[in-house]
């Protein structure tokens, strides 16, 4: 405004001087005045317009650089410049307000997100603890349940909800007297962790093996527990198996020693009586001969007993393996008949075989075992049949399942009482009736025969009428292969 007035005044002065017609001088004076006014104008413009604008530009630049606190000093501006400053300050204040508000909101949101993430990870941990296979419980310093996961509650056979806040001895009466509790208390008081196996007894009976790890925790103690009953069972089974094996070996060593120790004197008893009976050093009289015969047969009886005990023991411990071969059954059975023919004849017993139905049949089995079984049945029949009686062996393929041969030995002997049927096939069970004379034998023959038949995949059956006779039948598969493998495994397991 002032500048305009000064400018107008200068022009008017110039016009006036021109009007005064003092052209040359006037022109010079006019030019000087003009120059003077120009300088004044320049000074004025610089002070009242350029500097404030410069400061304003600097403030804008500061704002642009992020300093929202930049403000213009309103006391140093007038008129339009003051208006400009105010506008700027107002704008800057608004901007600053907005940014601060945004920053605050971001801060709030960030905190919320962090809190959410934290609670999420805690939840994750909680879920993991809740559902882990091992039991996890935190006991507070008053021995109350502070935290119990699902597995721990299940292991304790308790509802989880009812546990928290209750004391251990309240939940499990008498628990405070157990070794496990002593270990927990020791950890609670001395802050030292401990790891041990515990056989935990439930209040309502029963007990389970747990592996416990008790560690100090800020709340009290942390107990991790794992059910190790399976492992303990496996351990005890392993120990039992070891013990059985040891017992078996001890038994086998014992039997081997016993056999040796008994055979040594028996060698003298049987040998010397034979030398005398055979009159190798001169003859003995009839009475002496008879008595020597008693000694000799008693010695032989003892020997049979030893052999059968060894045999039975071998079968029982699975050491008697079937040796499979192909052979014609009829020839094998006839050989057994031949072996007993002389004895039957001595006792006036007829011994007959009816083996035509199995002519040409070849068995895949253990011939030695079958010989032993059949010989045993035949010699029993001959032994228990009175003079003048008869013993017959029959073999057939019908009357039994497919692929099975039935061999039966029947006699007209003393028979067996019904009440004795059950123990007939067990060891040392020779039936001894007070009315009948005791028969020679070890009482092991049938037990051995039964086990051998089973080893070959067959079975043995008996029918008898007391006083009329007995029939023993064995049923043998033509091919014993798979049965032998199974029976051998079973025999070993059964030990």
């Amino acid at each position: 405004m002032r500048v305009g007035a000064l400018f107008v005044a200068s022009i008017l002065t110039l016009g006036l001087l021109v009007y005064l017609k003092n052209a040359g001088m006037l022109l010079m004076i006019g030019a000087m005045l003009f120059a003077l006014s120009l300088a004044a104008i320049q000074l004025f413009i610089s002070k009242s317009i350029v500097s404030p604008l410069k400061r304003l530009a600097e403030a804008v630049a500061r704002m642009g650089g992020g300093d929202l606190s930049a403000r213009m000093d309103e006391s140093k501006a007038k008129d339009e410049m003051l208006f400009l400053y105010r506008s700027f300050n107002s704008y800057a204040a608004t901007q600053q307000g907005w940014v601060e508000k945004l920053e605050h909101e971001i801060e709030v949101r960030r905190a919320a997100e962090a809190a959410l993430a934290y609670s999420k990870s805690e939840e994750l941990f909680r879920i993991r603890f809740e559902n882990m296979h091992e039991g996890c419980q935190i006991i507070d310093r008053d021995y109350r349940y502070h935290y119990v996961n699902n597995a721990a509650a299940e292991q304790g056979r308790m509802a989880k909800d009812g546990l928290i806040g209750r004391s251990m001895s309240d939940v499990f009466p008498g628990f405070e007297h157990t070794e496990a509790f002593a270990a927990i208390r020791n950890c609670m008081e001395n802050r030292i962790g401990v790891h041990f196996d515990n056989y935990f007894s439930y209040p309502d009976g029963g007990a389970t093996w747990f592996e416990l790890s008790v560690q100090p925790a800020p709340e009290g103690v942390l107990i991790l527990s794992a059910d190790i009953s399976e492992r303990k069972r496996a351990d005890s089974e392993y120990l039992a198996r070891m013990a059985a094996e040891l017992a078996n070996r001890t038994k086998s060593d014992f039997l081997s020693n016993m056999s040796h120790e008994l055979r040594t004197p028996l060698n003298s008893i049987i040998g010397f009586t034979e030398v005398l009976l055979d009159s190798l050093y001169g003859s003995v009289n009839e009475k002496q001969h008879e008595y020597l015969g008693f000694i000799n047969s008693s010695g032989r009886h003892l020997l049979t007993l030893i052999n059968e005990i060894l045999d039975l023991s071998k079968i029982q411990s699975g050491k008697r393996d079937a040796v499979l071969s192909s052979f014609e059954l009829r020839a094998t059975l006839e050989l057994s008949l031949t072996m007993l023919r002389e004895k039957a004849k001595q006792r006036g017993i007829s011994l007959e075989g009816f083996l035509d139905p199995i002519a040409g049949i070849v068995l895949e089995s253990d011939e030695q075992m079958i010989k032993q079984i059949v010989f045993n049945l035949l010699s029993n029949a001959v032994k228990f049949t009175p003079e003048g009686g008869s013993v017959r062996m029959e073999a057939r393929t019908d009357g039994a399942e497919d692929g099975v041969i039935a061999i039966s030995v029947s006699d007209t002997g003393i028979g067996i009482r019904k009440e004795d049927f059950g123990r007939l096939f067990t060891e040392f069970s020779q039936i001894d009736s007070p009315l009948q004379k005791r028969f020679e034998g070890t009482g092991l023959g049938l037990a051995i025969s039964k086990r051998l038949v089973e080893l070959l995949g067959g079975r043995i059956e008996m029918q008898s009428t007391e006083g009329a006779g007995s029939v023993f039948s064995i049923f043998l598969p033509r091919a014993a292969g798979s049965a032998v493998a199974g029976a051998a495994a079973k025999a070993r397991q059964g030990e």
């Binding site: 056999s259 040594t264 028996l266 060698n267 008893i269 049987i270 040998g271 034979e274 055979d278």
Partner: protein, 126 residues
């Protein structure tokens, strides 16, 4: 020609029984109650056969046999083990001894000497 047999057995009665049977079969019998004495006799006498128990007081009959097999004087003398250890382990132990036989106790007095003679003759012809 007289045939000579050595019997090594620590049981006096068994030794006597075997001696009787071998003498009755025409053998000259030397007796030893342990492996040490048996080896000494084998070194001194030219034997046709050795009858050897397995459980001897000073060593196993099988070990004594290994010693005998390692010496020139007894390398080829047939050895028949006569033992009461008739179970599988007992037989396993002597299986490795060359030119050896096995008879279990109690012996059969009626066939004992014959079995020894048969074994000696089989060994001689082999």
């Amino acid at each position: 020609m007289v045939r000579k047999v050595l019997i090594v057995d620590d049981n006096a009665h068994n030794l006597m029984l075997e001696k009787d049977l071998m003498e009755l079969a025409g053998f000259v019998v030397f007796e030893a109650v342990n492996a040490f004495c048996g080896i000494a006799i084998a070194r001194r006498e030219k034997l046709d056969a050795i009858i050897m128990d397995v459980r001897l007081p000073d060593m196993r009959g099988s070990d004594a046999a290994l010693i005998l097999r390692g010496e020139d004087f007894s390398r080829d003398v047939p050895i028949v083990f006569v033992t009461a250890s008739v179970m599988a382990e007992g037989r396993e132990e002597i299986r490795a001894i060359p030119n050896s036989g096995f008879i279990g106790k109690p012996i059969n007095t009626r066939t004992f000497a014959k079995e020894i003679v048969a074994f000696v003759e089989a060994a001689a012809s082999a």
